[in-house]
């Protein structure tokens, strides 16, 4: 039985990939489960990064993530969609974002997962402040991210 479900969460606490997988992968009509995890890496533009602080726009963030999930569902036959994004300060190696998508077939699940992260990076009101050996700096938006999101815009 398909249980159409968009789960969107913005939270400070960490998430468990096995738990999130179990929540979306229980339906045996879904042959494909694609998940993506973004984590804090130790470099950006050649500088050492020691931790990362994520700020967001409460209220608007949740609405945008829900809208992105709805758009993904309009494009591909999906069953479960989960988007979790953390805010606050995260240490090196910590998980920042989780996207989980299930579908009957892999192509839809892969494409939807990529669409979700591309759109999230350019449309959802989150901002990264990186701390490192050169002090704290706000991360600049990348044109490459904007181009990636534009690829999905229908002509």
């Amino acid at each position: 039985m398909a249980t159409e479900l968009n789960a969107v969460r913005v939270q400070t606490e960490d998430f468990s990939v096995p738990s999130e997988y179990a929540l979306i992968a229980g339906d045996n009509s879904d042959g494909a489960v694609v998940t993506f995890v973004g984590k804090v890496r130790d470099f950006n533009d050649g500088s050492v990064v020691t931790d990362l602080t994520l700020e967001h726009y409460p209220g608007m963030t949740e609405a945008v993530l829900n809208q992105i999930a709805v758009e993904a569902r309009e494009r591909w036959p999906l069953n479960n969609v989960t988007i979790i994004h953390r805010v606050g300060t995260m240490a090196l190696g910590e998980q920042i974002v989780f996207i989980g998508v299930t579908s009957a077939h892999r192509k839809a699940a892969f494409a939807a997962c990529e669409f979700l992260i591309d759109f999230l990076k350019t449309k959802a009101p989150f901002w990264k402040l990186e701390a490192g050996d050169k002090g704290a700096n706000w991360v600049e938006a990348k044109d490459a991210d904007e181009q990636a999101a534009k690829m999905w815009v229908k002509e």
Partner: protein, 83 residues
């Protein structure tokens, strides 16, 4: 009153996260509100003149000619960098 919010670098550079602005007859669009705030002093002018500044009216990213009126929530912020 218009409830104005600032995020990320914009919040940090201005030193505040929110401001209540009395809507005047000349405050018709998001651009009018931006210009009104930018006229406060040099610092505000510089921060709110940023060519990549974005505006959200009532929690939707909007164009600069979007109407604003009493009771609206208007947020100014830089391009987003989550994920």
């Amino acid at each position: 009153m218009i409830n104005v919010l600032f995020f990320a670098q914009v919040r940090e550079l201005l030193g505040q996260s929110a401001l209540a602005v009395e809507a005047s007859e000349s405050t018709v669009t998001a651009e009018d509100l931006r210009a009104q705030l930018a006229a406060k002093d040099d610092k505000w002018g510089k921060v709110l003149a940023a060519d990549k500044l974005l505006v959200a009216v009532n929690q939707t990213i909007s164009s600069w000619d979007t109407p604003v009126e009493d009771g609206d929530e208007v947020a100014f912020f830089p391009p987003v960098t989550g994920g």
